[in-house]
């Protein structure tokens, strides 16, 4: 598959690395020789030093024969023009990164399709959705919905008070209302089998249905944690603005921003629900006077990953139960996890995983990249005669590191156990270690 990526920014580079590991033909086009130099020498991809909006440059990069063209420069209008040009040259599918909420509205999609844009992505909005989901269910670190919300997957940090610690999974009981699909322990991802146990400090990924959420909360020992009502966001970035807009009405938000001009701009972007505070979010006395001790959630969204991590640590000391840090430096993500920062948001990973799903050739409709666990979640529609349908799940010789979380059959969600028989037409949610999706596709086709 031939993929052309325009723009060697954070998202572009991350995506290029991700796809290069998948043995795809990647061409990266950018004007800046410095950005390209590092990539060319260390990854299996082609770089072209040309403007992403020059026809000549796009031709040279082979945009005309590309199966997928991804425009992810920092400038929205350049992305749109670049994708349009690629479409004109003959690219089969184009994706452009945008910064404007209006463009995403379904009624405008037809227009964008007509000018040669097949898909638009808005990383800040995706990140804001993750943050708001995280605050709505504050005791959950990560949260995904599958098949329109019929199945949910939750990442929960287990503490000493959880009821399910230190027991092999096989002994937890039959017909459980949940399926444990992954355990993250000290930076290592485990796709558990029946003999594995959960320990205090593990980040455990449960697959379940919405009606069982209270049960999970109970067994995970999270019942006494308060719901999030007061939120402080440090750093008035675009993600902060989108978060403010997506937040439910019962939450009260304060945004702390150090730049006065940005503060004034924020007052125009946000409504009366949000209080804008001019100051340094790392200043304990400011946090005290703004009531950090009565705040349930602290979100650090400045441009600086280190600042975000430190501010979250400080907020934890004030007793904030839910902290969320934007960490754009991928090397810091594991460290942030070790330091017990609650949820980590990474715009690049979110955007890249969103694009990644577009190049999967199977009937995959959703792949989400987990920020902590080096794992992918994929959804498959099971085809008539696929290998997976031949016997019960426990008798199929899956490679290690793959587990089936749940499935949707006739619009009803089912939690998959060893004795489940998968049938053609089922919509299956699979959990696997990073990069394994290609190898498990053959079980479903």
């Amino acid at each position: 598959m031939k993929i052309v990526i325009a723009g060697a920014g954070n998202v572009g580079i991350h995506l290029a690395k991700l796809l290069a590991g998948e043995n795809q033909d990647i061409t990266l086009i950018d004007e800046s020789p410095e950005k390209l130099a590092r990539l060319d020498s260390s990854f299996d991809l082609l770089t072209i030093q040309e403007s992403p909006v020059s026809l000549h440059g796009l031709k040279e990069a082979g945009a005309g024969s590309a199966d997928l063209f991804v425009a992810v420069t920092t400038d929205e209008s350049r992305n749109i023009i670049s994708a349009q040009l690629a479409h004109y040259l003959g690219a089969k599918k184009t994706v452009a990164r945008i910064n404007n909420y209006e463009y995403l509205q379904p009624k405008n999609m037809e227009y964008f399709n007509s000018i040669g844009l097949d898909s638009l992505i808005y990383p800040e909005l995706l990140a804001a959705k993750d943050i708001v989901d995280g605050m709505k269910l504050s005791w959950i670190r990560q949260w995904w919905e599958f098949a329109g919300g019929a199945l949910v997957m939750m990442g929960i940090k287990l503490r000493d008070n959880a009821q399910i610690l230190n027991k092999p999974l096989a002994q937890l009981g039959k017909e459980l209302p949940y399926h444990i699909v992954a355990i993250l322990r000290e930076g290592e991802t485990i796709i558990p089998s029946g003999n594995d146990t959960m320990q205090a400090g593990d980040l455990v990924y449960f697959m379940t249905m919405k009606k069982h959420i209270p049960h999970i909360r109970k067994i995970a020992g999270k019942e006494e944690l308060p719901d999030v009502r007061d939120v402080i966001i440090m750093g008035g970035s675009r993600i902060a603005v989108r978060t403010a807009q997506l937040m439910p009405d019962y939450m009260k938000l304060k945004i702390i921003e150090s730049d006065m001009e940005r503060c004034e701009r924020l007052t125009e972007l946000c409504d009366d629900k949000v209080m804008i505070i001019n100051g340094d979010g790392r200043d304990p006395s400011l946090l005290m006077s703004e009531g950090i001790e009565h705040t349930e959630a602290f979100v650090a969204l400045t441009d600086n990953s280190e600042t975000n991590i430190l501010a979250c640590l400080a907020a934890k000391r004030f007793g904030v139960t839910k902290t969320i840090a934007e960490v754009e430096n991928i090397d810091y993500i594991n460290m942030a996890e070790k330091l017990d920062i609650g949820t980590v948001i990474n715009k690049k990973k979110i955007a890249a995983s969103h694009i990644y799903q577009m190049m999967l050739d199977a009937d995959v409709t959703n792949v989400k990249c987990l920020t902590f666990a080096n794992a992918d979640v994929a959804e498959f529609n099971v085809i008539e005669g696929a290998r997976i349908t031949r016997s019960q799940v426990k008798d199929i010789s899956f490679p290690r590191g793959v587990t089936i979380g749940g499935l949707i059959r006739n619009k009803e969600a089912i939690i998959v156990t060893g004795t489940t028989q998968i049938q053609p037409g089922d919509h299956v949610v699979v959990f696997c270690l990073e990069g394994m999706i290609k190898t498990i596709e053959k079980y479903f086709n």
Binding site: C263, L266, T267, M275, I276, N278, G279
Partner: protein, 487 residues
Amino acid sequence: MIHVKIIHRILGVLLLIESGILLLCALLPVFYGEDDMFGFIMASLISACCGMTFMMIGKSARKREGSMTRRDGYIVVAISWVLFSIFGSLPFYVSGYIPSFTDAFFETMSGFTTTGATIIQDVEVIPHGLLFWRSLTQWIGGLGIVFFTVAVLPIFGVGEVQLFAAEAIGPTRNKLHPRISISGRWIMTVYLLITVLCAVSLRLCGMGVFDSVNHALTTAATGGFSTKNASIAYFNSHSIEYVITFFMFLSGINYGLLFFLAFRGQVRKLLEDTQFKWYVVFLLMFTAIVGISLFISTPYDAAASLRNALFHVTAIITTTGFTSTDYTLWPPFIWMILGLCFYFGACAGSTTGGMKIIRIAVLFKSMRNEFNRILHPNAVLPVRINGKVISTSTRQSVLTFSIFFFALVFIGWFFYLAIGIDIAEAYGISLSCLSNIGLTIGTHGCNIPWSDMPAIGKWFSTFLMLVGRLEVFSVLLIITPAFWKHN
């Protein structure tokens, strides 16, 4: 730099227009067979002559068209209101129905500024022609004299932007159309529509044709001149009171929004408007307070309490100043509440006077922010109107406006006290002139006892009316020395 010639030319045109309108009014005496025709003909001739003279002086300005400045705009607006009142008072004066020029000028200024305070002891003996002219002054002044003439006859082709800006300096700008003269015509259409609907409704409620037209003119303009001594109480009809209440309410809404409602069917635009919401809330809140107080403290039954409260609160908040009963006979507590309503005015962009709801809203929100600022010293606290942040300079000008307004109320109060008027009444007159209402409070009745007032009091009142009608700054600006300096 002040362009004397352009100013003369525009004023000349305006006077010719007034002359034309006066000439049309001269037809009414013919129709009714009354003796006021001479007054109209004379007034028309005199203003035509003056207009011509002004035109002659400003003749050579044609070559330099387009060079009109903001200063010229302010001068034209302020002077045109005074000139219109001077020439508009001639029919009363020449025909002898108001023998004193001071009184005639007062009556006309009270008309053009839509104040509605009348000097005439017995309105019912005045001929139909003069009564109609009296009502028409309010209708012309309702949206502003310059606005009216520019919107009806776009003959200047120059300086419209400056003139409109000088006449309506409210804190909001909502142009309906990129071309200001077309916006003006659209707003005039709404105005005309309200007036016609009001006249038809009043006629259907049993009012005579002449009275319907006059009351429609003064209701749409939120002026308050009546053709009867007892104002609306004369008709003694609940339906007429409700109809007038409704049209006063309508005229208090921003005309831009009314335009979108009537001609584009955009109901949401109106309902989501901050100013409209505050306007309705104020009306309902004060109606409830006054209504309940009336029900408790007077012999009125519930329906009468509600009707009286609604009518008077609407008449005062929209600065119309109609009365259906003498509210000063109610307990002082109630008329003091009405006295509080004297300040508000209705929405900016309507025909009402007063401070305007939008300024009150900005003021309230700024006050709330001050309290918040004490609790959160680092917070950046914006004032939002319709979801949009109001700029600091707009906020400041609203605050300055309010201070000036309050200061003028007090200056007026002291002035009236000094010329020997009762303390409550002096306050009422001062505020009422500035807000263009035309009623007062106090123990001597709700109508202002002008006949007892010395001439200087009347002239001062006309000054207050003009200052209030042109929203303080336009008039005060041209009496500051800095305005006349060349740089």
